[in-house]
């Protein structure tokens, strides 16, 4: 049972860009703007020019329903768009088209791994809205002499996923975000690697106090850091005898701190009213057909992997935590021993990729199959296999080429015998230690044999031979 000593309550509002659509939510501008100059993918609509009118992208609505269903939400009978009236330079119309009453989906949940086992995090609602533009400040927002605006992002379809304050620690918040992102990628509506794809506003309170809303969090790691900072800040306020006030704070990603945004704009009164330029949607009838098309989601796939391939739950979890990884694994597991594949992909390949900040796209499944094949036929050692994987990632090439170039074919018999004799001769201290009962000394002798054979000896065989000679 998790005690939650500080009484932390966190609710997250996650803004997800439906960036796999071809066009923005209300106009025909492309969503593919990430490498292009500012204000080069805008039109009268997303620039908010006088007289322009929005028209709803049908695919965006379908994607939103898909997500709603995957988050176990109810899809509403009647949904419509509202204007949220507030002013910020990234908002070209002086209001944002969003949803208010009648959001497209509500009352769902996701399961995450909590501090003390499975945790059900309730989803209040997941509603559609348009993304504002992007602001560039010279230096920091509080010091910059002017504000630059790029509206390429303006009008991207967003889904705002609002959770109940069910999260009890920054770690749980990060896991929630990982899970959400994972589900979105499975649904093929979202590419989390694009800049600005996922932004988070976090509401956090401690010990039943007022909550602060932290804005401008742009990654799951950022969320964890912002929340950790915020807990410490709020505890310090309380410890000094103060009271945490309800306010909006801005996360400064570079400094990893949150800043108060208390300016005159704080007096929010959004004056929501139905967007007169868009007509209501009656789309609950679409849900059953869309549900049919939902792909297998991470939890279901994890259970299937355990059952179908006989791998451990930990491996299944790691493999399904990323859609591409899960697909990679299944492609390998179809043609090789699934358990060996799970071990090599989870325990070796994934670590090597993470270390290099690479994704699974950097490794071909054929190469994984070759490595497993070479191991199965006892042509290479495990050390050799690791070497192959590292070399492919660092320099490229195929496993076969690397085996040839580095001479990684496993050595046996006389070569290992000779290496063992040399190792014993050259390491009298280790031999003495071993004979005196220090079993660990044998490891350094095995290491010496491996070094002499350039890793091509089988470590277990080398150990046997050494034991025979020393025994």
């Amino acid at each position: 049972m998790y005690e939650n000593p500080d009484g932390v309550k966190i609710g997250l509002e996650v803004h997800v860009q439906l960036n796999k659509l071809k066009t923005k939510v209300f106009c025909g501008c492309t969503t593919d703007y990430h490498n292009d100059p500012p204000n080069s993918h805008v039109c009268p609509v997303c620039l908010g020019l006088p007289g322009s009118l929005p028209v709803i992208n049908k695919k965006a609505v379908e994607a939103a329903i898909k997500v709603g269903l995957a988050l176990n939400c109810k899809i509403e009978e009647h949904t419509q768009f509202y204007r949220k009236n507030y002013y910020y330079p990234d908002l070209p119309k002086g209001f944002q088209i969003t949803q208010y009453d009648f959001p497209i989906s509500s009352q769902g949940y996701i399961m995450i791994e909590g501090e003390d086992g499975e945790l059900k995090v309730r989803i209040t609602r997941a509603h559609m809205e348009e993304d504002p533009g992007r602001l560039v400040h010279e230096g920091t927002i509080d010091k910059s002499k002017y504000t630059l605006i790029d509206y390429n992002r303006s009008g991207m379809a967003l889904l705002e996923v609002v959770s109940e304050p069910d999260l009890r620690s920054p770690k749980e918040a990060r896991r929630y975000l990982d899970k959400l992102r994972n589900i979105l990628e499975y649904l093929d509506v979202f590419d989390g690697n694009l800049e600005g794809a996922l932004r988070v506003d976090a509401n956090i309170s401690i010990m039943g106090g007022q909550r602060a809303e932290v804005k401008n969090i742009s990654s799951h790691k950022g969320a964890e850091r912002a929340l950790l900072y915020e807990i410490v800040r709020q505890k310090n306020v309380v410890r000094r005898g103060g009271v945490v006030v309800q306010e909006t704070r801005h996360f400064d990603e570079a400094r990893e701190i949150t800043l108060s945004m208390r300016t005159k704009e704080e007096a929010h009164d959004y004056r929501y009213f139905p967007e007169p330029d868009l007509v209501p949607l009656k789309i609950s009838g679409w849900a059953p057909a869309i549900k049919e098309t939902l792909p297998e989601l991470p939890d279901a796939r994890r259970m299937r992997f355990v059952e179908q391939y006989g791998i451990t739950d930990d491996h299944a979890k790691a493999l399904t935590s990323e859609l591409k990884l899960a697909i990679f694994y299944e492609n390998v597991a179809k043609k090789a021993d699934p358990k060996t594949a799970a071990v090599w992909i989870c325990d070796v390949l994934k670590g090597e990729l993470n270390y290099r900040n690479l994704t699974i796209d950097s490794f071909k499944k054929e190469h994984m199959l070759s490595v497993i094949g070479l191991l199965a036929s006892k042509n290479i050692t495990e050390d050799g296999a690791v070497d192959i994987i590292r070399t492919i990632l660092d320099k490229g090439g195929t496993p076969e080429e690397i085996v040839r170039e580095k001479g990684l074919i496993k050595v046996e018999g006389d070569i290992v015998e000779t290496a063992a004799l040399e190792a014993i001769k050259e390491n009298p201290q280790a031999v003495a230690d071993f004979k005196a009962g220090k079993e660990k000394a044998l490891n350094s002798l095995v290491g010496a044999v491996m070094k002499k054979t350039k890793g091509r000896a089988d470590a277990r065989a080398a150990r046997e031979i050494l034991l025979g000679k020393l025994g």
Partner: protein, 96 residues
């Protein structure tokens, strides 16, 4: 009744800077209109649905196709009316 103080708040909510003189001038005129709006209190609207859209349209969409139905502008066109710009960006004042 709107007081001059209320007016100050609403004007800020509307992002309209009003001078003391403006507030003095506007308050009675606004109140006479609001009085008139108060006429609606006499109408029994119990159980009456509001009319947001006068035609009963629903489910109007566009397809997810580039440049349809609105075409993108060039960067030059997009910025052509900007009072201030910088390196392809619109240039706005500082935030704080």
């Amino acid at each position: 009744m709107i007081t001059k103080k209320d007016l100050e708040h609403i004007a800020w909510l509307s992002r309209l800077e009003l001078s003391e003189e403006d507030r003095e001038k506007y308050t009675p005129k606004l109140n006479s209109v609001l009085d008139y709006f108060g006429e609606l209190d006499k109408v029994d609207t119990e159980g009456v649905e509001p009319t947001y859209h006068v035609l009963a349209l629903s489910n109007v969409f566009r397809d997810d196709e580039i440049n349809s139905p609105t075409k993108s502008l060039s960067q030059e066109e997009a910025l052509s009316n900007a009072p201030k710009k910088h390196d392809g960006f619109f240039k706005a004042p500082r935030m704080m």
